[in-house]
Symmetry: C2
Subunit: 370 residues, 2 copies
């Protein structure tokens, strides 16, 4: 692990942890939620608005940026921080998940993956070494080992994917050359405890600066997710940050923190915003609903975001029906604030040794959106 | 004229004027450019971003807001200022221009216009009295008399439209009941000097708090526009603000101010932003052009807007090609800043008695976009 990074755990409350992850672009207070900026933009908001929301870490997607505008262009322009004007920490994924979920006609072999671009059909190849080279060009603070995410219920495929993921992780470690980037390994293994255990143990042996839990929230039940998290929690080194990939409903944040997770990311708040849905501490509301047509109150009386300070439900509904871009922007600001302020409250509760109560209260009021 | 309004001319430079228009929502420094918020939102930006741009007056469209969400809903929610969270001055047009340009199967009679909504085909009727009632519900600071905009080259139709516009203006004056709104009359008459003269003289006789020049930039040549402006300039009362409707290219702002115009509005900067075009002091650039793919420099080295302070042409091009909303937002911020800062520099030049030189320099460097 590079000396630019260190993780300090400031407080425990049962399995939940409050920490500080020191990075070359500043300190991250954990547990945290990272908004997603797939194409080097967190959709519908400016970096200034993200700063006002106190976002710390943001995520960008290697697969998308490799294809467009190209990692070499971004390197030439000074790297992702300069390119997108975000001088707080950035995390890039490895490209693996997107190659397997978005690209056309992919072909996996032991050395890497060949696929066609979803943008123009051109043929590309990503190997572990290539993934690291791209991520070094992008220059995020946290980078991910190139992995293969199996489908959750296929034991045979998961086992094969796991072997590849482990071999690839080792090649990523060898390929990595920048000391100002922390390489996280990704634990795979679907819903199979024995595979998850093997993965956690193998990757722990590589002594990486952090570990991600991949392949969850991709079709398995909540109960299965939680039991995998509980298992992995007991196997990973205590002193390293743990990152649960692609998870981000308020309920999942609370139950994830209860099981030792420090970092989350998800497109949910930004994507829901573009589909008229507002996330609150108790559930969701569809702002396009006619019942809001003359409602003076904000989305959430208890929310202190720009949207809730100044705009009524009626106005936001009007913007959405009139297809005004501002509707997506105001909903994005609100949804991100809901998750970011929830994480900040969770951290405070852990520091004060009352997270257990906080989580119980939260889950009691949470209405699972249909 | 209500006591809430007054117009002070602080300085003249030839025909150009620098003034202050006092309104219930604060002072407007003229000459000024008003961004357009057709549906109660200046497209792609937040009110906070507009404030940061030092926008003073903004315009909203009566026709659109009457149809959706409805002027009564807006009144119930506290009026347009509260609804859209803009506590600086607002101007609403009369709905006339949109009824004639957007609505389906309209039918004009001496009393008003019957038309079908472009949104859902429902039938509506706007009379001068109705236009004022809607604008009183909306509650803008400056409201417009209901008018008919003829096609510029049809003398017979223009004459008939002019007669109606005059009769309707008188009815608007009678219908108006709020003292915190200033009603402007609209001079029509196409390209015909004798009609423009008749219109300017008739409306001047109503002693309104301000006058708009309508029916320009709707198909006639620049030369015809300028000669009409020169004529009207000599006929309108000196001490009242003049508003040239729907005009807003940088060149038109400069040549308009040279001919005594105080207020402009136009969708150009916001609309071009959504079509990848950046406006600068010397012309336009299409940011989607491949030549910008790795350009580190901002859109305009001399611009101090948020976009030009922090983002490269390459990044904005990437956003545009990747269809990220942020592309439209950053271009809108830049385009509005170009026009707003141009107006502020024009005003300063008038105050310093060097506007003539400023205008000559500006026009020398201006490249008319094809």
């Amino acid at each position: 692990m590079s000396t630019s990074f260190s993780f300090e755990i400031k407080s425990h409350d049962e399995r939940a942890r409050a920490g500080i992850f020191h990075t070359p672009h500043g300190d991250l207070l954990t547990p945290l939620f990272a908004p997603v900026g797939t194409q080097a933009s967190v959709k519908s908001v400016t970096p200034a608005q993200l700063e006002e929301l106190n976002a710390g870490l943001i995520l960008a997607n290697t697969y998308h940026l490799y294809l467009r505008p190209g990692d070499e262009v971004i390197a030439q322009l000074g790297g992702l921080h300069t390119f997108m004007h975000w001088d707080r920490p950035i995390l890039t994924d490895s490209g693996g998940f997107q190659v397997f979920s978005l690209a056309d006609t992919r072909k996996i072999d032991p050395d890497g993956v060949t696929f066609k671009s979803h943008i123009d059909g051109s043929t590309h190849r990503i190997t572990p070494e290539k993934s690291i080279a791209i991520q070094e060009n992008l220059g995020a603070d946290i980078i991910m080992a190139f992995d293969e995410c199996g489908s959750p219920y296929d034991l045979i495929k998961n086992e094969a994917a796991l072997e590849r993921t482990h071999a690839w992780a080792e090649r990523c470690v060898k390929a990595k050359s920048r000391s100002d980037q922390a390489l996280f390994g990704i634990i795979q293994g679907g819903i199979y405890p024995e595979l998850r255990q093997r993965s956690a143990e193998y990757l722990s042996s590589l002594d990486l600066p952090g570990y991600a839990i991949g392949g969850l929230s991709v079709g398995e039940t909540k109960k299965e997710t939680l039991s995998i998290l509980e298992l992995v929690d007991t196997l990973l080194p205590e002193e390293k940050p743990r990152y649960l990939m692609g998870v981000g409903s308020p309920e999942d944040l609370v139950t994830g923190v209860q099981r030792g997770v420090d970092i989350f990311d998800c497109v949910l708040p930004t994507r829901l915003a573009r589909h008229h849905a507002a996330i609150t501490r108790t559930g969701r509301l569809n702002i396009a609903n006619a019942r809001y047509s003359s409602e003076k109150s904000p989305i959430d009386e208890n929310c202190s975001c720009y949207t809730c300070r100044y705009f009524s439900r009626a106005y936001i509904r009007h913007l959405v029906l009139a297809k005004e871009i501002l509707g997506a922007t105001l909903l994005t600001i609100h949804n991100l604030n809901t998750l970011l302020s929830l994480m900040s409250d969770i951290r405070q509760a852990i520091m004060n040794g009352r997270f257990d109560q906080f989580a119980a209260d939260f889950l009691k009021h949470w209405e699972n959106p249909s």
